[in-house]
């Protein structure tokens, strides 16, 4: 799946590049397409609630996904970026005892969730507009909504039955630092590193029994992208 996303991103970037070859002159708009490499750096409280043995926790696996952004140049040094990732399927693995009772726990994929996480960033771009290589930094706000929340069969076995998961949306600060490199007047490639803060409270409902965990993510993402200005 992740390979597919990378292939899709590269393919889409090349397609955009091909169309760009015939365009006229660069404008203040820039669309970027690339790959998001996300490391979630999640810290969760141990799961608490009725009939939960102590020491049950979860780890959120890293993902890669499609990066897509729209950037509007406000001035020679200021840009506004709206960045999206194709909602990645993120897997949580149990961390804690090898088994709960005799049910495997540690290392089991217990839940999956997709993230819709648009980020709005105000960026300051260093160097003269004519420079080929321009570093930039930015700050902004991240909104994260969790969709397609699923407890896996292993998760259901550990929880004790079919389980629904609630993860409220989060709004938190985001920051980025990156480099842009001009290939042509219209084409640039970018590399950036971003962090955001995402806080949510997981509530798992199994037969009316609610278990909770406060989860704090600091998703740090490496983005490699190509952008086309128009």
């Amino acid at each position: 799946m992740q390979k597919k996303i990378v292939t899709l991103a590269v393919g889409a970037a090349l397609a955009l590049a091909a169309t760009g070859a015939f365009a006229d002159q660069a404008g203040p708009n820039d669309v970027r397409l690339g790959v998001y490499l996300v490391h979630y750096d999640a810290k969760a409280d141990d799961i608490s609630g009725p009939y939960v043995p102590p020491g049950l926790n979860a780890h959120v696996n890293d993902v890669q996904t499609l990066y897509i952004a729209y950037v509007r140049s406000l001035s020679p040094h200021f840009d506004v970026e709206v960045a999206f990732g194709y909602p990645p399927l993120t897997k949580s693995e149990g961390r804690g005892p090898a088994t709960v009772g005799s049910v495997p726990y540690n290392g089991q994929v217990i839940s999956t969730v997709r993230w819709v996480a648009p980020t709005l960033l105000l960026e300051y771009v260093f160097g003269a507009p004519s420079s080929r290589l321009r570093p930039y930094v930015g700050v902004g706000v991240n909104y994260t909504k969790f969709v397609n929340r699923r407890s896996t069969p292993a998760g259901n076995a550990a929880s004790g039955g079919p389980t629904s998961i609630s993860l409220p949306a989060s709004v938190g600060p985001a920051a980025t630092a990156g480099l842009s490199y001009e290939i042509t007047d219209r084409w640039h490639v970018y590399a950036s590193y971003s962090v955001a803060q995402v806080n949510s409270k997981l509530e798992a409902n199994t037969a009316g029994i609610i278990r909770t965990s406060e989860i704090h993510f600091w998703p740090n993402t490496l983005v490699i992208s190509a952008g086309y200005s128009f």
Partner: protein
């Protein structure tokens, strides 16, 4: 350029929609009906799942586990522990939500899968309002040891176990427990069974099913509840394959009389408020105010005291209940004006002593007398007078050292006291019934908490069925007979009680009721195996 932005916008929007249209995995369905026997959450919560070797290891690691394993046998099956909620009815016929445990044997061994018999289990008296027999995962829950016990004896040996927590406990909002209310207890048990059968269909082990064999058992209060359940199920035309009520207060009127006559049982200060509250709520005839029955020291609030979130030790410590002093050590006297009656009453009202009782009996009963004390003197005198005027035949026979015969164990024809009427109504002798399928009444003659006379009275009443082999009585304190399949259990219990006496002196007797429990449950299992 505008067209390009438009295309891009549509693409981004489509991406967003595709993502936001997602779903959440479902949890259990919640019943919309509150009819009797309806399972609330389907499927129910599995609290724990342990395989046979892990269960053996976990039991082996506890203080009493190795002995239990020796008695119950090494687990042949793993056990899935489910917590289920169901709808039942209170004594006033109101819809009530209650909870219980479903234990399902697991594993591929022959006795652990496929069609399996059900053991419907009734637990013993508890004062803990949070009692949850499904909660095997929490060793601090007061139900934990009973949960492990029935799992080891029954579920780990291939029986599906259904064990309600009863109304008044865990999630129940009834506000009291219908203690020794036979009809209410039976309704609770039967509704739990119906809901558990539904729950079984959606369990993690669809290959394990109800074989149609139903065994009913229970210990102490649960022994009574088990017998009441057999009675009610027979009346409803439902078949019980076999039953094994154990150490239960079946002959309630006679038992109540014995206690008021001074034969105070261990635990009486707890059993009394549970019983009076239950009957007052159900029939409203026990008292006008609690001080009619209880001494001024304890009358206030005693009707809402149990079950409680406070431990029994805490209730004793805070002076809510006396630990053992049911009656005043300065005993009252009867003054009906009937000289013969008063003389007899005063003999029974006195602190038990020789020659009426042996020294060891007197030592046991005398701990039920003190100051402060629970039951008001006026009430006690009234009860004793009533029990002499409107005598329970069985209790009179026992008092006069007569053999109990089926012709001599009847209930009192009438009574002047609400409490005695209620005891008679809920006495298992009432209703003119007998078990239609095999029943074993296990108990022990030395039990200081629920006297063995309860089983003896029922056995005398049902003498023709005892002779016919339909009803059996097992006295674990009885002399082991060669060839009796239960003789090894008798030997083992008697050895253990001897050890307890050697280690702790005469006070060890107080623990005998609890000590018998696993022996009776293993006897029940052996009995059920004989009635396939």
């Amino acid at each position: 350029m505008l067209r390009k932005i438009g295309v891009l916008g549509v693409a981004v929007a489509a991406l967003g929609l595709a993502a936001c249209g997602g779903t959440n995995s479902p949890t259990a369905k919640v019943a919309t009906s509150n009819q009797r026997g309806i399972l609330v959450d389907n499927p129910p919560l599995r609290i724990a799942s342990v395989n046979a070797s892990d269960f053996a290891a976990q039991l082996g690691a506890t203080a009493s586990g190795p002995q239990l394993l020796q008695l119950a046998g090494t687990p042949a099956c793993g056990v899935d522990f489910y917590y289920f909620k169901y709808w039942t009815v209170g004594p006033d016929n109101s819809a009530q939500e209650a909870s219980g445990a479903l234990m399902v044997p697991t594993g591929s061994a022959a006795p652990c899968t496929g069609p399996r018999p059900i053991v419907l289990y009734a637990h013993g008296t508890t004062t803990d309002s949070a009692y949850n027999i499904a909660n095997i995962s929490d060793t601090t829950n007061s139900a934990n040891s009973e949960s492990a016990l029935i799992a080891a004896v029954f579920a780990a040996q291939g029986y599906i176990v259904v064990a309600p927590n009863y109304l008044g406990y865990d999630i129940s909002t009834l506000g009291y427990h219908p203690y020794l209310d036979g009809a209410a207890n039976a309704a609770d048990m039967m509704d739990a069974l119906t809901a558990a059968r539904t729950a079984l269909l959606s369990s993690f082990t669809p290959n394990t099913s109800d074989s149609g064999k139903l065994y009913v058992t229970g210990y102490s209060e649960g022994g009574y509840v088990a017998m009441a359940t057999v009675k009610a199920m027979q009346a409803a035309g439902e078949t019980v394959t076999a039953s094994a009520p154990s150490s239960g207060p079946y002959a309630l009127e006679a038992f109540g009389d014995a206690i008021f006559f001074g034969q105070v049982n261990i635990g009486s200060t707890v059993f009394s408020p549970l019983t009076s509250t239950s009957y007052q709520k159900a029939y409203g005839n026990v008292y006008s105010q609690t001080s009619d029955l209880y001494s001024s020291t304890y009358a206030s609030g005693i009707d809402t005291l149990l079950p409680s979130a406070t431990s029994l030790a805490g209730l004793f410590q805070s002076g809510k209940l006396p630990q053992t002093a049911l009656f005043d050590s300065t005993t009252p006297t009867s003054s009906t004006g009937n000289t013969a009656l008063d003389a007899q009453a005063n003999l029974l009202l006195a602190v038990p002593a020789s020659p009426l009782y042996t020294a060891s009996q007197a030592a046991l009963f005398d701990s039920g007398f003190g100051n402060p004390y629970l039951v008001s003197n006026t009430y006690r005198v009234g009860y004793v007078d009533d029990a002499l005027i409107n005598a329970d035949q069985a209790e009179m026979a026992i008092l006069n050292h007569r053999m109990l015969t089926s012709a001599d164990v009847g209930l009192a024809a009438t009574s002047m006291l609400g409490l005695r009427k209620d005891l008679a109504l809920n006495d298992m002798r009432s209703g003119g019934w007998f078990p239609m399928e095999p029943m074993l009444m296990c108990g022990a003659d030395q039990d200081p908490t629920v006297f063995f006379q309860n089983a003896q009275i029922m056995a005398a009443l049902w003498a023709p069925y005892v002779q016919g082999g339909l009803v059996s009585v097992l006295d674990l304190n009885g002399a082991p007979q060669a060839g009796n399949p239960f003789a090894p259990l008798q030997v083992a219990l008697q050895q253990e009680e001897a050890q307890l006496l050697a280690a702790n002196g005469a006070t060890a007797v107080a623990s005998f009721h609890a000590t018998e429990a696993p022996f009776c449950l293993v006897a029940a299992r052996g009995f059920f195996a004989q009635v396939p």
